[in-house]
């Protein structure tokens, strides 16, 4: 049986979202038919607003609804430190911690020649420009992922930053806190051993 056109179109829309196949799409579409019209309107509006009203902050490139974003605008934050992350989601993870009080810079990706992503495809040049324009910055913490690509990106940034003379640091990696040593895999353990320090 063929679906009536409006439902088919709605399903097509749902199927563009990650993790949604034809079955889930059909379930969601039929559920929408049962919903109150106000709720549907509200939902449609939020979809459009999320796309239309959100943008990248012109300074840190984090997603925001006002430019500059609330983090960059917050004068109570430490204006001398910038934490460089791969994704907007990483900013949210860092913020949940409530321990870091500096600024951010979101790269939106990592350099990976295999995937055709070069330095010009992520916001590296913007970071360097930001450092040149802002004389307050004293430290840049590079918190890209500990994958090969994340490491390469970290090294690339530190290379570009050399001439500025700003202190560059890399976050540590190793054993998770509260985890028993015996549960860690061999590779993580050997990494942790490599990064040991005197106490």
């Amino acid at each position: 049986m063929q679906y009536p056109a409006p439902i088919a179109k709605l399903m097509e829309g749902f199927m563009k979202l990650p993790g949604i196949g034809p079955k889930t799409a059909s379930r969601l579409a039929f559920y929408v038919l049962e919903m109150k019209e106000d709720d549907v309107l509200e939902f449609a509006r939020s979809l459009v607003h999320a796309k239309r009203d959100l943008m990248y902050c012109s300074q840190c490139h984090h997603i925001t609804d006002v430019d500059p974003c609330r983090i960059c605008e917050d004068t109570s934050r430490d204006q001398t430190v910038i934490c460089v992350v791969q994704d907007a989601k990483d900013v949210i993870a860092m913020e949940k911690m409530r321990e870091y009080n500096g600024l951010y810079h979101v790269l939106h990706g990592a350099i990976s020649p295999m995937d055709g992503i070069g330095p010009e495809d992520i916001y590296v040049a913007e970071l360097i420009k930001r450092l040149q324009e802002n004389e307050n910055i004293q430290e840049v913490i590079i918190a890209t992922n500990s994958t090969i690509e994340g490491e390469a990106t970290a090294m690339y940034i530190s290379r570009l930053m050399k001439p500025t003379g700003i202190k560059t640091t890399r976050i540590a990696h190793g054993l998770p806190i509260g985890g028993d040593l015996e549960y860690a895999d061999e590779v993580t353990l050997s990494k942790a051993l490599e990064g040991r320090r005197e106490i």
Partner: protein, 373 residues
Amino acid sequence: MYIRTLRLKQFRNYDRLDLQVENKVNLILGENAQGKTNLMEAIYMLAFAKSHRTANDKELIQWNQDFAVIDAELEKKNGHATLGIVLSSKGKKTKINHLEQQKLSDFVGTMNVVMFAPEDLHLIKGGPRLRRRFIDMGIGQISTVYLHDLSLYQRILKQRNQLLKSMFPVPQEDQEIMLDILSEQLSVAAAKVIERRFAFLRLLEKWSREIHEEITRQSETLTIRYQPSCNVSEEMDLSMIEKRMKETLERDKQQEIRRGLTLTGPHRDDMSLFINGKEVQVYGSQGQQRTVALSLKLAEIELIYDSIGEYPILLLDDVLSELDHHRQTHLLNAIQSKVQTFVTTTSVDGIEHQTLQEATTFYAKEGTLTKMK
């Protein structure tokens, strides 16, 4: 360690197999194409989670079936373990003690296997790829960290080769910086792989020299030398190897950009074998090359015992007929009563060794195994 029971379901030409075996030599007799090597393949899979002769797991599932199962009960010195592999069109699942393993690397290494098949006789004369594979599998059996370092190296290598290709003919400035970074990453990973391979071959030489002298009645001394593509030596420490590797990459940069390839590193390394100072690959007779291959395999068994404290399971697939009487005797003496061994052959005529006479014998025919004695 040894296998107690092995069960197969819809694996290759085995519709159903329930095999009880003992901790000794198991001889599998049979005509060609009756399922002797398929049995070896199943045991090999339990150790490495992949086949030694195909990369396509679907070939392992019986024709017209959706899935295949391999199950085994393994007896180890610190207790027993149940291993399981389920192959289906959706991929493979591995289980240890009925618990599904999220990562294949968690499964690999629970059971240790050394396999000696006719193609191993090419180890000496064949291409360097075969020898690198031999080294990598040998170290991989005893070190998961090595497998991780190796796969890291291979990934960086891919990234670097891709970058090199995109730099031709006119490299841009940011690409130059990126190449520099990837060279550094590659050197760090390469040094770990090279250092580990040096150490492994040193140990392998120690064991195989002894075995080789015995087989040749003290007339031949075996020497193994790692041949790195980069100018490094065994005495160097990690940071020195790393430094040399970086210098070489820097030196050959222009050539590498032209060819779009990384020309130096563990992926280009090799090992050389010498008998009384002469290179076997060049000067060795067929027979000498076979003896060396045999010595290396037997040494691998001792090396595993040395590092994990128990003997691996030995698979001898159709190699008896490839060896002369003297070498057969030596091989059979070596495994006598200490290593659980599975031997396949079409015929034992003319081999009158005690090990085979005492062995449990099975007869393979059209996907079934019948115990003869």
